[in-house]
Symmetry: C2
Subunit: 190 residues, 2 copies
């Protein structure tokens, strides 16, 4: 039976991100990531299918958090109010000690087109999870998709601001503010 | 000097799409695509870096069409009016004889996660091209990004309807209608 390794998943994610930052994504091997984390290659592959997925490990959890918050929003909530609840739920998991980690993640992704592609796919997956949850509340298209898009847009915009080490606001505050700005912008579309 | 092959690019795209449809994307090699098109592997690589890019060949042209139409829209045009002009410009290139080809392309992409990732990246690239053109008209964020998003959303929704062989409307009509519906949906966000 496989030995239980405490925090193996998190150790692998941190080791991978450090190595990608130091020597580049392409130059880093799974063996090096496992070594840096003090774990074996076998342990790595118990957690991730390949080195790319290390950076997108939270996708399912994030999708579920967003969808559950929309499902559980009180019934009189408008589409954007439900989306606001979803932003509250997901941003609460980004505690201040994750800011530096997030800055590194953003920088590694920006430097590699394969990772940018994967990130665009993650983004559309999160938007779809919100739109599907809105459908279950009886919101039809195109309203549901649009509300979800505003939520995703607010989240990523806020994340970019928050990942800046000089920023002092919480991700929750930034996301709520961004969602409000987007709502106002709908009136300026013409 | 390389021999000039008439319509090589288009022949390669059609051969690739036929093979992907018949035997699957993963099972198809560049050699088979070149053979089917009656061309050589060398000719293939003069046109495309790999078999995946065959399916995304029009991306730069599409981005330019969208951006140029926004740039050239008359100065009193609102953000959404400029985006409407961009949709007119791009949809005019999707003549009715491309409908069957588009249906195949949609079906091949839907069946493969690597292609879906690449397609999501193309989508975000086209949206960015429109948003950048709107910035140059003096439209700031988040309005520019939102207007571009509505345009992209209208285009892809219309494309899905149009690629259905039973549909009889033009892509231009479908896209204009979809953009109008999205504009109305902004009032239902709450």
């Amino acid at each position: 039976m496989a030995r239980w390794e405490p925090n193996a998943r998190e150790r692998l994610v941190r080791a991978a991100l450090d190595l990608f930052t130091e020597q580049g994504y392409d130059a880093t091997t799974v063996n090096e990531i496992a070594d840096r984390a003090g774990l074996t290659k076998t342990t790595f592959f118990r957690h991730f299918p390949d080195k790319r997925e290390v950076l997108f490990a939270g996708q399912d959890t994030h999708a579920r958090l967003l969808a559950d918050a929309i499902t559980e929003a009180p019934s009189p909530a408008t589409p954007l109010q439900a989306v606001g609840a979803a932003l509250d739920a997901i941003t609460a998991t980004f505690t201040d000690d994750r800011r530096e980690f997030s800055a590194k993640l953003r920088s590694v992704t920006a430097g590699n087109s394969e990772l940018q592609e994967r990130a665009a796919f993650k983004r559309s997956g999160l938007a779809k999870a919100m739109a599907d949850a809105l459908h279950k509340r009886g919101i039809s298209e195109p309203t549901a998709g649009l509300a979800a898009e505003l939520g995703i847009r607010a989240f990523y915009h806020a994340f970019d601001q928050w990942a800046d080490p000089t920023n002092r606001q919480t991700l929750a505050e930034l996301a709520r503010h961004a969602l409000g700005e987007l709502r106002s912008a709908t009136a300026a579309l013409g």
